[in-house]
Amino acid sequence: MRNRFFTWILFLSGGVLLIFTLLAAYRELTPEWEKYQAQYKEQIIKAAKDDAAKKKARQLKQEVQQLYLGALNRIDRCTSCHIGVENPRMASAKLPLKQHSGAYLKNHPPDKFGCSVCHYGQGRAVNKKEAHGLGHETHWDFPVMPLKYIQSSCTQCHDYETLTAKGYDTIAKGAKLFTEKGCRGCHKLDGIGGALGKKLDIVGSQPIAYFPMRHVEGEKTTYNWHKQHFTNPRALVPESEMKISVKPEETDLLATYVLSLRSGEMPKAYRKIKGRMAVGKPDEGEALYKMFCIACHTDGKESYYDEIFNHTIPSIKNPAFLKAAEDKYLKKVLEEGRAGTQMTSWKLAAGGLGESEINKLITYITKERPSSKPERFNVARFKPDEKRGGELYKVRCALCHGKKGEGELGVNLRNPVVQGADPEFLAITIRDGRAETPMPPFGKKGLSLTEQDLADLVSFVRTLSKTK
């Protein structure tokens, strides 16, 4: 054979190259998570109740699962193996397919929070060893945290009172121990404390290399270090002068606490800590009124024309107004606002007040509602004449409410709340006027328009939104 020496080398090496390329391709195409996802797929196909569900289950794609959490600057790929974490059907499945315990994921949806922000671990990894981060060779400082310390993560967003109220009191107990066992006598926290021990400010975020790990028993993690250090400081740090006397179960509480002392802050959108945040929403009628209404409506007893708004601000606590206005009407105005004026829509999707808060406001506003109801007008008695109403309007109403009802001294009559109001309410208002406001009574008590006049006016007013 010509060139047989090099030919042999070429073909042998080529063979080796081919074999290892194929081996490498095989290794890439059969990642660890694939078998878990295959198991999951099998299980949900079996659990599918009908053919449509079965079909959908069969179409399940097997691919890397990734949660991109921009605000937290994390990527979590835990759900590549923990594929059933949000599926209630997996409640009794084996790990890693098992559903997450408790109802935590309802308020902490994975697509907003991921997993590692609470559980630590290496979110970017896609195999168990490196994702869980245990073992020196993974070179990951924060392996998956033992569940007994998990509350150290809650305090990134929640305050102790809320947590304790919901039954998660480990962390509060740990903090209490910290304050009652004299730790700060030697350890500074937030700049205050003794100087014999190390500063504790970000001890929960320190890497493994920060701690002397030589004498740690078991896994050399920061979690074990803290627990064993609280149990016996000199076991880990022979030259330590630390004086501590706690019961064995208290070491876990203290460990939870110190592990909660982390660097960095959660983005504002995630934090729910009372007192630390900017003002939250009050919970009670008067406080709500003061927070949202008082700037424009002042005490609500009088309506007045505001030069800056170029509008009349109606009196909402005016007893005469309250007498005529039903709660249903008030609620509508609060929720929808008055288009064309400065009165905002306050419903949850707009101004952000929930139903209970609006109800509390209404209860507060109507506190001084006179117990007597106004005399019924019964608009239905009359056959209204719009045209005549229009003539009357021009003479009697346009001066304050504007030629087209757009309002000036008087309120804007074109807005949906007025337009959608019960004609009875309109009639009573025109008849009786609004005490403490410039709106005079036009009925018997005042300018003495006839009831037919009033009915015509009501029907004309209700056409105002249609005129250009």
Binding site: N3, F6, S13, V16, R77, P207
Partner: protein
């Protein structure tokens, strides 16, 4: 195809059928080689291939002569470059993202981990191979007969290889990267040791200036990463390929690889080559002229080609192809089993202890522990200067193309191994056990240590011993063999010491397992 001229649709069908063949013919100007003449023109007329000669000497093809080291280095460079470009698709050179982008390459990019491993091992393999190649070139006296300048170019390539490896080491921005960067920056600052001793730093802070230029600031940080990235993906590669081009060109112009003056093809050479096509004796039947070339010698040879050469097509190309696949196979196997290391994210507050440069610089780091300036600048500079001077100080023209020149050369090499090993180990034992000046006289001026330390003593000894060999043997070549061999031995021993025997605080330990656990 000399049939009747075809026209129209018939022609079209015919052309379509023979498209592939005619493409192959168009690609090589002269068509697929079928004769010696066309084999010659395939090389001669090809843009890429014509840097190689049309004919190759049989000695060049002998694996035992070159061990294919130069080619392997080049092929490793190709593997590193291609894998590097692939990595650039995902790597992000900012300190916020670099580490995570490397993690993502490892975890989610298809074959990302393999490609990263290939890049790392081919890159570091290149260092070993270029050092071996340099040794081969030296020991076969291939820096002679007009090849002196190419040796210097090779040294430039050596420096670039070290530089490109080092700059790549710093890109993942993990603890290894960061602290290597800090160490290298401090090495760059080492002229300060001299200017401080002479009181010159106030006027001329060469060390500080160089360090700031390298780091892009006073400390290692995001500017440093940008500069190191620029060096790694652009400046060093450009320099590498320019110098490589010159290096290959010089090989050609200097007459190809060296060969011994007296050369006889052996039986085993038949396994390496395709014999030339010599048809019909001295006077071919139908040609009036064929290949014409100038050659040494008086009579035409019938059973071999001129001057013991064979045609490069296919012989040289086949050998190169075999070596290329061999190289790739080796890289893939190694990369399949062994992962490129990646430690924790860079943490300026937690130094690695010991903070070590990559392995190929650990010999230097050992010398550094004696004197910053000498270990970082002085001795490496001296070593490079010494290496560069070899072709100019040893101009004997005998024994070119023979490993170790002759029996005496082999003996001198062995002797040098023994002597250098003894002296180096002796110096190390002394320093490890007894320390040096500052351990005995804490207030000794730094300049004295800079001038007199184990590193200087060793280099001084090397030079003196080589001169002694020259005198003893009456041959500059023997002196060169002594010097180069001692250089290799010291590189090996110091690298081993720096890698395996130095632990936290650069203290001596017999093995890694003896290092104190933190």
């Amino acid at each position: 195809m000399s049939e009747h001229k075809q026209i129209g649709l018939k022609a079209f069908k015919h052309n379509l059928k023979s498209a592939l063949k005619s493409f192959a013919g168009s690609y090589l100007r002269g068509g697929k080689p079928t004769s010696d003449r066309t084999r010659s023109s395939a090389i001669f007329n090809n843009f890429f291939l014509h840097i190689q000669g049309v004919k190759t000497h049989i000695n060049t093809l002998r694996p035992g002569y070159t061990l294919g080291l130069g080619l392997l280095s080049f092929f490793l460079l190709l593997a590193t470059t291609i894998s590097g470009v692939l990595l650039m698709v995902y790597y992000n050179p900012s300190i916020e993202n670099a580490y995570n982008s490397v993690k993502d390459i490892n975890y989610v990019v298809f074959a990302g981990k393999l490609i990263r491993n290939v890049h790392k091992w081919a890159g570091e393999g290149m260092i070993i191979l270029v050092l071996l190649h340099m040794a081969r070139v030296f020991y076969t006296s291939s820096y002679k007969q007009g090849r002196q300048f190419n040796w210097v170019i090779g040294l430039a390539l050596l420096v670039i290889t070290f530089g490109i490896n080092l700059s790549g080491y710093m890109l993942p921005w993990d603890q290894l990267s960061y602290w290597a960067l800090v160490i290298v920056a401090n090495i760059i600052q080492s002229p300060k040791e001299i200017t401080d001793s002479l009181g010159l730093t106030g006027f001329f802070d060469l060390g500080g200036f160089s360090k700031e230029l390298f780091l892009g600031g006073l400390t290692a940080g995001k500017e440093s990463l940008t500069r190191v990235y620029l060096l790694h993906i652009m400046l060093f590669p450009i320099l590498m390929f320019i110098f490589l081009g010159v290096h290959f060109w010089r090989i050609r112009k200097d007459g190809g690889l060296t060969k011994p003056e007296v050369f006889e093809p052996k039986a085993m050479d038949a396994a390496l080559t395709t014999p030339p096509e010599k048809k019909g004796g001295l006077f071919p039947l139908n040609k009036t002229y064929g290949l014409m070339e100038l050659a040494k010698g008086k009579t035409p040879a019938v059973d071999r080609d001129v001057e013991n050469t064979v045609l490069s097509w296919p012989n040289l190309l086949w050998a190169e192809a075999a070596l290329f696949v061999f190289c790739l196979a080796g890289v893939i196997v190694y990369s399949y089993f062994i992962d490129a290391p990646l430690k924790e994210l860079a943490n300026p507050l937690i130094p690695e202890n010991p903070a070590k440069a990559p392995w190929y610089f650990l010999g230097l780091q050992e010398l550094l522990s004696y004197s910053a300036f000498m270990g970082g600048v002085g001795l490496p500079g001296l070593a490079l200067l010494g290496l560069a001077l070899i072709p100019y100080l040893d101009r004997e023209e005998q024994h070119v193309g023979l490993w170790f020149s002759n029996r005496q050369g082999k003996l001198i090499a062995l002797e040098s191994i023994a002597v250098s090993a003894a002296v180096i180990i002796g110096l190390l034992a002394f320093v490890i056990n007894f320390g040096w000046f500052r351990s005995w006289w804490p207030n000794v001026p730094q300049l004295l240590i800079t001038l007199i330390n184990p590193g200087n003593i060793w280099v001084g000894f090397m030079i003196l011993w080589s001169m002694f060999v020259i005198k003893r043997t009456g041959s500059t070549r023997m002196g060169a063999i002594a010097l180069f061999t001692m250089f290799l031995v010291s590189y090996l021993i110091y690298t081993y010491v720096g890698t395996e025997l130095r632990g936290p605080n650069w203290d001596f330990f017999w093995s890694r397992s003896a290092w104190p656990v933190h």
